[in-house]
Amino acid sequence: MGAYETQGYNMDNTGRRIVVDPVTRIEGHMRCEVNVDSDNVIRNAVSTGTMWRGLEVILKGRDPRDAWAFVERICGVCTGCHALTSVRAVEDALGITIPKNAYLIREIMAKTLQEHDHAVHFYHLHALDWVDVVSALKADPKKTSELQQTVSPSHPMSSPGYFRDIQNRLKKFVESGQLGPFMNGYWGNKAYVLPPEANLMAVTHYLEALDLQKEWVKVHTIFGGKNPHPNYLVGGVPCAINIDGNGAAGAPINMERLNFVEARIREMIEFNNNVYIPDVLAIGTIYKQAGWLYGGGLSATNVFDYGTYEKVMGDHSTQQLPGGAILNGNWDEILPVDPRDPEQVQEFVNHSWYKYADESKGLHPWDGVTEPNYVLGPNTKGTRTNIEALDEDAKYSWIKSPRWRGHAMEVGPLSRYILGYAHALKGNKYCQRVKEQVESSARIINSDFPKALGMPETSYSAKQLLPTTIGRTLARALEAQYCAEMMLDDYKELIANIKAGDTATANVEKWDPATWPKEAKGVGTVAAPRGALGHWIRIKDGRIENYQCVVPTTWNGSPRDTKGQIGAFEASLMNTPMANPEEPVEILRTLHSFDPCLACSTHVMSEDGQELTTVKVR
């Protein structure tokens, strides 16, 4: 198409082309190409999933009750959310209602996953986009201690000696040449603006998070049995409850184990309040001061989620993160979303390496087709097995293009927070906490931290701060905080329900396929850590006839559609200036802010070679 206008962006692919392949520190395999103008500002963006997944076809003909175990293997990092979505889809198809304990236990597991995934993403996959590890070696431990006490006075681990020890350990590690997790950094690039002390503080918290997360996942072991892949069950949860039981191996869940869960929830709440939220707010404050408010992309206009966390099981109106769709940045109007409506969620493939009979139309996932068709456009540079530059006018990705009523949408914690904030402003009493969190964050970024750190105050509104790369990272932290708080409510409700005499955890009335209709279809949705996740299933004669997953990274990483509309990754990169195009720090920072998980949006296998990103400027 050459130069054209879409969704308010002027797409221009005439400048220098920069190819980043693979985009590292993500799950799965992804490539990104951009064109920059003479000032090194991004004027065209092309994101592509470079692997075909084949998962949906693996499921055809299999037992629907086993599907969760297969989908749990789609991806290494969000095992639980695929499994949960799958059992929900099957239960929806077969009309199974789960017991209240099962609902609450699943909520606790899902929210633990959110907390775990968000914290791990921030400290292990994303922090290095903001934090210069090598600069941390230059920090003054005493000043680091002062900074720690300024941004988070209640965090106990803040002595100069503590930071000095960590710094020495880091020094030893870097000097031994084993940069390990810190390989592939563009250390010293001008795009890093934190002072050495903030860098050391963040690296220290990276190690603290690592220590805590291993305790948190034990919540999954308690309710899900096995570790690291938890067990799920169509009809409920695969654990029995006997509050006075002895807790021997294989015995039902008892009070001792439930107490362990409560202790972990309280630990998460404390970690969020003392470490995770202050770190994100401090980094956000400093980068915002440096003028870095890029990366909003589609979140400034179109956001989407199915809605989640019902306070009352089965009552959508009580969702604590309510869903919907917002178009054109109009936060005053929230449009209702229905995953069953054939006119709403549709997947297009005219720029994806799949084949439809009629590619001018999208298909609703119940009628979805996943048939690979790897063809390249005439303007592709290179060969079929070694592409130098893609032709984005043709098919160019293994990711399909999901659209909501034809619109490209962003999904994820930021979308959920924009929706939650908009609902709260309209008076929804179930999500007022979202409004509080957003407003307090804005106050801290605009005023509290600038004052404490000796910087000028600002007056950005929520609508200016949220739809940015910083906002995306902040929303993820706020969601972790909110989930941990909601989980404590779930936990208390679970204990009260058990103490009232209800110990049911599974409804197995429809376990036997003889009780099923000849044909059935269902949908399950989950607020996965990366955004709106849906599985659509058709069951025929007791077997899976069709299975389609529309995963968050499919929404965000989607290629162009029939109208030439770009996806959320692509939009987020547009108009961002790069300090040095040979070192794509800004591209990685913004793409990582989505927590891309290509393992499930596409699949798999990579070529030989070191995991060193190749950056080619053409």
Partner: protein, 223 residues
């Protein structure tokens, strides 16, 4: 056939000081890529071990396996790795060579992840005193929904023998299993059990099995 749902969750004991961890890595859904997990599955079906031995179906969990590495005083890893050898060839790699080796060539998602996991464990100064990697050269990965190829399945027997031998030296006290393995004790999933996985596979005309040619160019394709 699907049996009735298991009514109880399974719980493992806490980490003892001298924990021996046996980790199977890989994805059972892509043919020989499932080698590591299938090894752990077979090992547990055939043997019983001392209480301080933990078997883990690590899947492709990458970073999320770090606590198992940190908890291990001795670590045995089964994995499919591309050494550029003949399919089914086993290779033992020990101790300091393991991280380097797992990073030298990457084949699938989990390997890059796993090298990082080992490095991170080192940074936290919680690293096993002994590490043994028993790797197998895969024949086929581009077969979605497929199972181990015969040559890899045969190699699995030798891999298990090597693993059991090392475990015996490490004091894991392996003995032939006398009591049947319950669903609850099993570290792998009955839903993905090898026999069930293979026998319930849909026919090829129903479920496309091929992958992306750029990563599997046919032999002789110089493109």
């Amino acid at each position: 056939m699907n049996t009735t749902p298991s009514a109880t969750a399974c719980h493992q004991g806490g980490d003892s000081i001298e924990t021996i961890v046996v980790l199977g890595i890989g994805n059972v859904l892509w043919a020989d890529e499932g080698f590591g997990v299938r090894c752990v599955e077979a090992l547990q079906q055939r043997y019983e071990f001392a209480p301080h031995v933990q078997l883990i179906d690590g899947g492709t969990q990458g970073l999320y396996l770090i606590q198992h590495v940190q908890a291990a005083s001795k670590l045995l890893i089964f994995d499919a790795i591309d050494y550029g050898l003949a399919p089914g060839t086993l290779k033992r790699v020990e101790n300091d060579d393991v991280p380097r080796f797992m990073g030298a060539k990457k084949m699938s998602l989990h390997q890059t992840g796993f090298q990082e996991v080992l490095m991170l464990a080192l940074l936290t100064e919680q690293y096993p005193s002994q590490v043994l990697l028993v790797g197998c050269q895969p024949e086929e990965l581009e077969d979605y929904g497929g199972s181990l190829r015969p040559v890899v399945r045969a190699a699995m027997e030798h891999a298990l023998a090597q693993g059991v031998d090392a475990l015996a030296r490490w004091g894991a006290a392996p003995v032939q299993r006398s009591r049947p393995l319950t669903d609850c004790e099993s570290v792998t999933f009955s839903e993905l059990d090898l026999a069930r996985y293979e026998s319930q596979r849909p026919p090829e005309e129903l479920a496309c099995r091929v992958g992306d040619e750029r990563f599997f160019p046919p032999a002789g394709d110089g493109a």
